[in-house]
Amino acid sequence: MEFEIFGRKKNYRRLKRGECLHIRSELEKIEQKILREERLTFDDGINLFDCKNLAWLGMLADEVRRKKCGDIVYYNVNCHVNLTNICSARCKFCAFGRDENSLGAYSMTTEQIINLIEDALKDPNMTGLHIVSGLHPTWKFENYLEIVKVIHEKFPNLYIKGFTGVEITHFAKISGRTVENILTELKNAGLQAIAGGGAEILSDRIRNLLCPKKATAAEWLNVARTAHKLGIKTNASMLYGHIETFAERIEHLIKLRELQDETGGFQTFIPFPFLPKNTALEKEIKQTSMWDDLRTMAISRLMLDNFDNIKAYWVMLTVPVAQVALNFGANDIDGTIHKENILHDAGATSPTNLAEDEIIKIIREIGRTPAACDCNFNILRLIK
C-alpha cells in the first residue's frame, strides 16, 4: 500500500511494498557491480536515490574513494577573487549578482585586486587564486585578459584558476571570437585551469526556467571540451536542491561522465547544494538536508567512475558536514579561500575563510592525510 504523508508536496516518496523488494534486489546488484568496478547505468543512479540506507551508500562510496584516491585529502591555500558582482545574467538561484548602479554593486579596480592578493599573501603558504565573477554588462574581454596578465606578471609564482564555462561563453559572445581563441589567449596570459561553476544542471528545461540569459548546457560542455583539447584542465559541478528531479541529477552526472570519457580533462567534481536565502527562489525552495547532501555526494562518487576527485565544498556544506562528507566519497575539501563572497550573500553560515591548521585538523581527525595542492592537483606539501 502507498503511504501519503500529510498530503504535502515532497521531494521524496514512500515506496509500495513490491517496489521496496524490487529496489532491494536492484541495490544488491548495484553493490556487486560497484565491487566489480563496473559502470553504473541511469537506472542504477535512480535506484540509489531510492535507497534509504545512508550508511550503506556511504560505505560503497568510501570504498570506491579508497581504491581510486587512497587516503590523501587535497586542499588549497588560496584566495578567491570576485572581480565584480554586476551581472547581466541574473539567474534565479543567485544571491550575488546585482544590476549596475544598484545597492551593493561593485567592480574591483586593478589596484584593489592587487591589494587583496597582497593581503592574502601575508600567509606565506598562499599559492593560488580562484577568480570567478558576474558577467559585467560593459566590460570587454580585453579587460579580463589584462587582469590575468597583470596578476601573472606581478605574482608569477601564484597559480591562477579562473572563469567558469559561463564566463568563457560570455567572453566569446561579447568579443566575437571563438571559445578556442578566448581560451588560448587566457592560457597565454597565465591562466592554468578553468573553474567548475556554471554547470548548474545541464538540462535546458532547468536552464530556461532558472538561468535563461547565460550559457546553455551545450555551450558549457563545449567550453570544457575545447579547454581539454587545448590542454587546459577544468573542474565540473552540479547545483542541486532547487527545481530539478533526481532523474535530472543523474542525467547531469552522466553528461559529465561522457565528456570525461572523451577528453579526460576534468579534475574534480563539486556538488553544490543550493542555498535559497536572498535568491528569487527563497520563498519556494527549502534548503537541502544534510542527508540529501551526503547521499548526493556518495552517488556522485559512484556514478562518476572516471573522475579522480570529488570535492566537499565546505562553504556550502558547512565545515562539520564537509568533514563527514570525506567518508561519503570526497577526497578534496577545497581551500582556505581568504574571503568568500558569493555564497555568503546567499546566507551561508560557514565562516568566510578557514585557517590551514583547521583544515589539517579536520582531515587528521578522521585518520586521513592532508596534502596542500595547486590548481592542477600537484601536491605541494604532504602533511605527514
Binding site: F6, L54, A55, G58, M290, V324, E365, I366
Partner: protein, 360 residues
Amino acid sequence: MIDKNLREKVENQERLNFDEALELYRENDLLFLARAARRIKESKSGKKIFYIINRHINLTNICSSNCPLCAFQCRSGDNRGYTLELDDVEKILNDFGEIRNLSEIHIVSALHPEKNFNYYLDVIKLVKKKFPAVSINAFTPAEIFNFAQKENKTFAEILTALKSAGVETLPGGGAEIFSPRVREIICPKKLSGEQWLKIMRTAHKLGIKTNASMMFGHVETIEERIEHLIKIRELQDETGGFQAMMLFPFFPANTELGEKFNLRPVGAWENLKMLALSRIILDNFDHFKAFWVMMTLPVAQLALGFGADDLDGTIGEEKIIHAAGSGENKNISRETLSEIISEVGYIPAERNSFYEEKIL
C-alpha cells in the same frame, strides 16, 4: 582494518567487552559503525522514529554546584539569576494549555541554595493539578541527591515522595562522565558517579523509569567514555529501568571549563561516531535519542542513520523560534519532525513518556 572476529561479533550483535569497544573506536571506521548501529536500531524499533510533544520548565538557574562545565548556572546575587515562584509556574502552565496533544512536561533546574524540597513538591503538585493527563519527567539524580541531603532523607524516601506527587519518569542528566578524575575537573561539587548510579537503581526499584546520558568532548579520555557506557550497561542488566540513552556533546561556549582548557565543540563526525559506537555497546537499551537541540536538526536527522530512534521533543524549537521573535504556529514543529523522519525513509511515531505510540 577491524579484526575479522570483532567484525563478526558486531555483525552478530554480540556483547562487546571494554577492549573490543576501545578497538572499535580506534579503528575509526565510521560507516562500519553506522551500518551496525542502524541494524541494531531496526532490530529494536523497526522503521519507527519516536518523538514527543513536550515542554521544558527550568525553575531556576541559581546553583550551589557551580560546575565548570555549565553555562546555565549562576551564583546567588548574580543579575542573570532567576527563580520561578509558584505563580510564575502557573502562568507558564496556562500558556501550555493551548498545546494540542501535550504528552510530557520536563522539569530540570539548578541546585538552588535556599529552595527547600517542599517547593519542588508543590511545583509537581501544581503541574499535576493543571494537567492530570500529562506525564511529568523531572529532576536529575543531581537534584535528587541535593533534596536528600537537604532533607536528611534517603533517596528512596525522596523518590517515593516525588512519585506520589506525580513524577512519572526521571531524565538522564547529571551523569556527565562517571570517572572521579574527570568529575574533579568538570563538576567537583556535584554528586559522584556511584551516587548517580545508586539513585537510578533506587528509582528503577521503585518502578520509576529513567533515561541515561553521557556528556563527552571535554577532558575525558576515550577509555573513560567506554568505562562510563559499560557502567550504564551493567546497571541496565540489573534493573532494566533505563528507557533511552542520550549523548550530550560538550558545548564549550560561555563555560569556565571551555575557557580553561581552550575546548572546541565536538564535530558532526565525532558526534555520529560516538552515537553509533554507543548504540553498539549498549545492547540492552531499547532507545537512543538524537537530542536535536544540541546536535542541530540537520545533524539529528543524520543521526537517524547512525542508530538513533528518538528525536526527543518539540520544545527546543519553540524556544528558538520565540527567541528569534517569531510567533510561529506551534503545530509546525510536529510536522517538521515528521517530515525530517519521513525524508529518510522512516515512520514518525508520536510517543508518550513510556515509548508507547499515541494514536493520533
